[in-house]
Structures are given as structure tokens and as C-alpha cells.
Amino acid sequence: MCDDMIIKQLSVFLENKVGRLNHVAEILGGAGINMTAFSVADNSDFGILRVIVHEPERAQKLLKDNLFAVSLTDVICLKIGNKPGSLSAVLKILEKEGIYIEYMYAFSEGENANIVIRPDKLQEALDALKRNNVGMLQSDMIQ
């Protein structure tokens, strides 16, 4: 799959113990890698840290060298208006296509809202979003 709109997200396995998240932040920070967005999904045993960075491959190697279990996952990063109803409009598009969202996380600032989504059918989701002119970040737009 080759598409500018596909963003490589870092997924890092973390044990539920003090200091693990900071260890990741330190390693990335020390190498000058900025975290654009991240979320932590957890259960009683462990967590999965999901991070969007500018250089995912370099970050992955760095973390692997530091003995983290880390993989790259394809996600889509939506850029939509920071106003009532805009999320619902996008979700409706995906819903119509029968696309299921495994997880998502978001942040908004000023006029824009950025939403990272992991759909079950990535290519179909991308096509549907493009057809409907939904704004998306390209991988080289990640700072």
C-alpha cells in the first residue's frame, strides 16, 4: 500500500509500571523526535502507547535498540473543522461504507481538529474519505 495519506503510527508495548512512559519520551526526546500526538490504551496488565512522529522508522529502530516491543501501524490522520457536528459528518461517511473504527484519538487547537483513526478496512476508508473531500494530513506534514 503506497499512499501519502497513510500515516505510520508507532505502537509500543508498555508494562504497567512507573516510569515506562517517561522512558519512551526520554529516548525520543533525546534523539530530537517530537511526538505530534499520542494515546495510551491500557488494561489491568499492560498498555499500548500509540504515537505519531515525524520519523517513525527512525523512532522504531531507536526504541527497538532500547529493548522496547514496537511496531508500525497504518492509520489515517483527519484534519477537520473544530466545530460542532464535524466529527459526526466524517463518521457518517465511514459508517455508510460499513467501516469499523478500532480506535481513535484526537486533539484540537484553534480552527482545526486532528483525529487519528485506525479503521478496520484502511484502503476503503481512505477512498471514502477522499471521495467526500475530508481533509487528511499527509505523512510529510507531520512535524
Binding site: 505502537s11 508494562e15 499492560f46 499500548i48 529493548l67 511496531s71
Partner: protein, 434 residues
């Protein structure tokens, strides 16, 4: 009260004579009826003629749990199948259990031994005893059951499980004694407190607890919660089952029924016998067993023996509380767990690194059983659901081999210690010392 005063209060000299006579007989039996024993004696250059006195026992080679596995299931029988009337089994290291065969006479010895225990606990024919050990291959249920019948008391054969019914029966029938593992007794005690019944509605006075190590603190807690006096009943499947030993009312050690089960204490490193009172590995020889006699069976349990007469009047040797084990077997919730079992399961699963670390603890009087495992790099995923599936898979696999459910913790790569050789692969945080 004493069930068999003749034997239980016998002078040391008479006991030595009885043991000597029985040792000669059992050695004859295994030598002539059991190939592996005969071979081993021949290798050691010993014949039955060399065994005249119980002191000669040191000339005999040891046996171990490994022999029971190697000759699984019936290789160590010293009686023909036509005389074997029952088998029992306990968990082994590779999923194969250890099987023992018993003759009618073995069952008679067992219930005699059990009757001595229950009588020492103050029970008699007017009492009702609820047996809440599991019935089946485990020796606990049927062993305790026969003992209760032998003293003429009334047995309520509940087996384990179905807690509400357990409590109802105890209350409705006026059960005086509960026979169970201490951890199950603790569980029942808590369920009794939570039940709508008041403590006065129960007639419970005696706890017959065994099959797993327990602490003084646990004894006190069960005694307080249930309003019973709690006694230890000792046994192991290879030797017989519950009834090998028991506490008397003095509760100053566990009396061993040494006319049937002869104990020795040896140095676990050298195999040499240790002087009285010194701590070492406990070794048993079954002096009267027919089906599957064990000669100098190494229990791997560490304890010490004391021979002075007890203030209860018994002369039967007393054993200290088991102070640990000299191999890496763990007893968790009454089940034997070997780290090698866990290893074999993990090595079979391609998703996991062949490393693990077991932590056993006791929380609220129940054993916890945590195993840390590392998922291989390529199997870590972004998806929590599939990670939890992996966890479920290994949990089931280990449970099916070991018999109890582990609490699996997925940990980060290389966080489990790697050094080869004598790496300790478990930590037992439970404290059994008084």
C-alpha cells in the same frame, strides 16, 4: 483419645523390633516382585539377607518421584494386578500424573492410620464429619472418607465446591468436624461469615486440615472465624495420602505413623543420615505397603524429627512443620507445580520467548500464582484484543498441564533474567515459618 494405644505408645525398643520385622518383609516383597527395585539393589550390592534390623535401611538405595514417572503407570507395582483394587494419582511434571496402586490390605492400613488421626483430634463415633477434600484421583477425599467410617463417625461426603451447599449441610446436619485443605477451609470460613447464618447455628468444633502447607497465622484465623480447633493431618500420595501423620492435642509437631511409614532425615546433598533433631530431607519407607511399596522415597521436604515421648502419651516420632523443599517443586493451592512444566508449555508456543518467572504469594489466605512471560517481538501487536488472546491461550495451556490457573503477566522484551544454568525461575513469597 488414642485409637491404637499398643502401637502409638509403644516403647522405642518395641517399635524398633516391629519396624525391623516389617522392613525385612517389605524388602523381600520388592526384591522378588518388582524388577526396578531388584535391579537397583543388585547394583548397590544389597540382598534381602543384608537387611536384618531397621538400622540396615541405610544400605538400601533411594527412590524418588522420578522413578514413579519413569515406571509410569504400573512399573513399580510389587503386587499382581489381581490384587490391586484402587489407583490414586497426583500431578507430575510433564502432564503425566504419578499413579499409585493399592491392595485391599493397603486400604486397611490407610484407614487404620486415618483413624489414629481423627481420634487424636478428639473425634469419635457420635460425631459427624464433613469431608470437603476433592473426591477422585486425589487421595484427600477418599482417604479422609475411609478414616471417618473407620472410627464409626458419620461421614458427609461433600467433596469440594458448591460452597453454599457446604455451609447449609454443615449447619443443618450439625457437622462437628470439617476435613478440607486449609485454603478451602479459609474460603468456607469467609463464606460462612457472609452467609445469613449465625455462628451459634453451627456445631463445628474441629478442623481436619492438610494436603498443603499452612501457617500458624492461618490456623488462628480459621479457628477464630469458624470457632474450631484446627489440626494438621499429613500425607503424600506416593506414601499413602492423608494419615501418614497428625497433630495430637499438644500440637507440638506432627506424629508420624512410623510403624507403617518409616521416616529418616538425610543430608539432601550427600544422602547421609543426619542425627536426631537436625534439619534435612525427609525420606519415607512404607513398611507394610503391598501394592506399590516405596523404599527410601525422597520427599524433597525439609524438616527434623524428634523421638522423645510426647506429653500426650504417644511415643510416635514427631516431625517439625515442613520448612521448605530441596528441589524446585512448588506446592500451589495444594497442587505440585514444577517450573519445568511451565518451561515445556512455553517452549511449545511459538509466540513466546522461552523465558519465564513464577511468583507465588499468599493473599487473603489464597495462593497467588503469577507467571511473567515475554511475547516474541514479531508477535507484539497494536491490538489489545489479540494480545489478550495470546494471554488467554497461554493461560489455558498452562492450566491444562499444571492443573491450576496461572495469572499470566505479559512483560516487555528482555525484562526476564536470561543467565543460563542455575537461574532461579521462581520466587515463593509465602511465609510458612511460625
Amino acid at each position: 483419645m488414642i485409637w491404637n494405644e499398643t502401637v502409638e505408645c509403644m516403647s522405642r525398643e518395641e517399635m524398633r523390633k516391629l519396624q525391623s520385622l516389617r522392613l525385612r518383609r517389605v524388602v523381600e516383597r520388592v526384591y522378588h516382585n518388582c524388577e526396578p527395585y531388584r535391579k537397583r539393589m543388585q547394583e548397590a550390592g544389597v540382598t534381602p539377607e543384608d537387611i536384618k534390623d531397621i538400622k540396615d535401611i541405610v544400605k538400601l538405595p533411594f527412590s524418588s518421584k522420578k522413578d514413579l514417572r519413569d515406571y509410569y503407570p504400573f512399573g513399580l507395582l510389587s503386587a499382581p494386578m489381581s490384587e490391586i483394587v484402587r489407583v490414586h494419582a497426583s500431578s507430575g511434571t510433564t502432564g503425566k500424573p504419578i499413579v499409585v496402586g493399592l491392595t485391599n490390605n493397603d486400604l486397611a492400613v490407610w484407614k487404620e492410620a486415618g483413624a489414629r488421626c481423627l481420634t487424636a483430634f478428639g473425634l469419635g463415633k457420635n460425631d459427624i464429619v464433613q469431608v470437603s477434600y476433592g473426591y477422585g484421583l486425589f487421595t484427600g477425599g477418599l482417604g479422609a472418607h475411609a478414616a471417618v467410617e473407620n472410627i464409626g463417625a458419620t461421614v458427609v461426603p461433600m467433596s469440594s465446591g458448591n460452597t453454599q451447599k457446604q455451609i447449609m449441610m454443615m449447619r443443618d446436619l450439625g457437622v462437628k468436624a470439617l476435613a478440607a485443605t486449609p485454603s478451602y477451609a479459609m474460603y468456607l470460613a469467609e463464606a460462612m461469615e457472609a452467609s445469613p447464618y449465625k455462628r451459634e447455628e453451627f456445631n463445628l468444633r474441629v478442623g481436619v486440615f492438610g494436603a498443603e502447607p499452612w501457617t500458624e497465622a492461618m490456623r488462628k484465623e480459621i479457628e477464630e472465624k469458624m470457632g474450631v480447633k484446627a489440626y494438621d493431618i499429613y500425607g503424600l500420595t506416593e506414601v499413602m495420602g492423608p494419615g501418614v501423620g497428625f497433630e495430637c492435642e499438644c500440637q507440638c509437631g506432627t506424629h508420624l505413623n512410623e510403624d507403617h511409614f518409616f521416616p529418616e532425615i538425610i543430608d539432601p546433598e550427600t544422602g547421609e543420615p543426619l542425627p536426631e533433631g537436625e534439619k534435612g530431607e525427609l525420606v519415607f519407607t512404607t513398611l507394610t505397603k503391598e501394592g506399590m511399596p516405596m523404599i527410601r522415597f525422597r520427599t524433597r521436604d525439609l524438616t527434623a524429627l524428634h523421638y522423645e515421648r510426647c506429653s500426650c502419651g504417644r511415643t510416635l516420632v514427631r516431625m517439625d512443620k515442613i520448612m521448605g523443599r530441596c528441589d524446585d517443586m512448588l506446592i500451589v493451592r495444594g497442587v505440585n507445580v514444577f517450573p519445568s512444566q511451565i518451561e515445556s508449555v512455553i517452549c511449545e508456543l511459538p509466540e513466546f520467548e522461552p523465558f519465564f518467572f513464577i511468583t507465588v504469594d499468599r493473599v487473603n489466605n489464597t495462593d497467588t500464582f503469577e507467571i511473567k512471560v515475554e511475547v516474541k517481538q514479531e508477535y507484539y501487536t497494536d491490538d489489545i484484543k489479540s494480545m489478550l488472546e495470546l494471554k488467554k491461550k497461554i493461560t489455558h495451556k498452562i492450566q491444562s498441564v499444571v492443573g491450576i490457573q496461572p495469572d499470566i503477566k505479559l512483560v516487555e522484551p528482555r525484562s526476564i533474567e536470561r543467565s543460563e544454568g542455575k537461574t532461579k525461575r521462581y520466587l515463593d513469597k509465602r511465609v510458612f515459618a511460625n
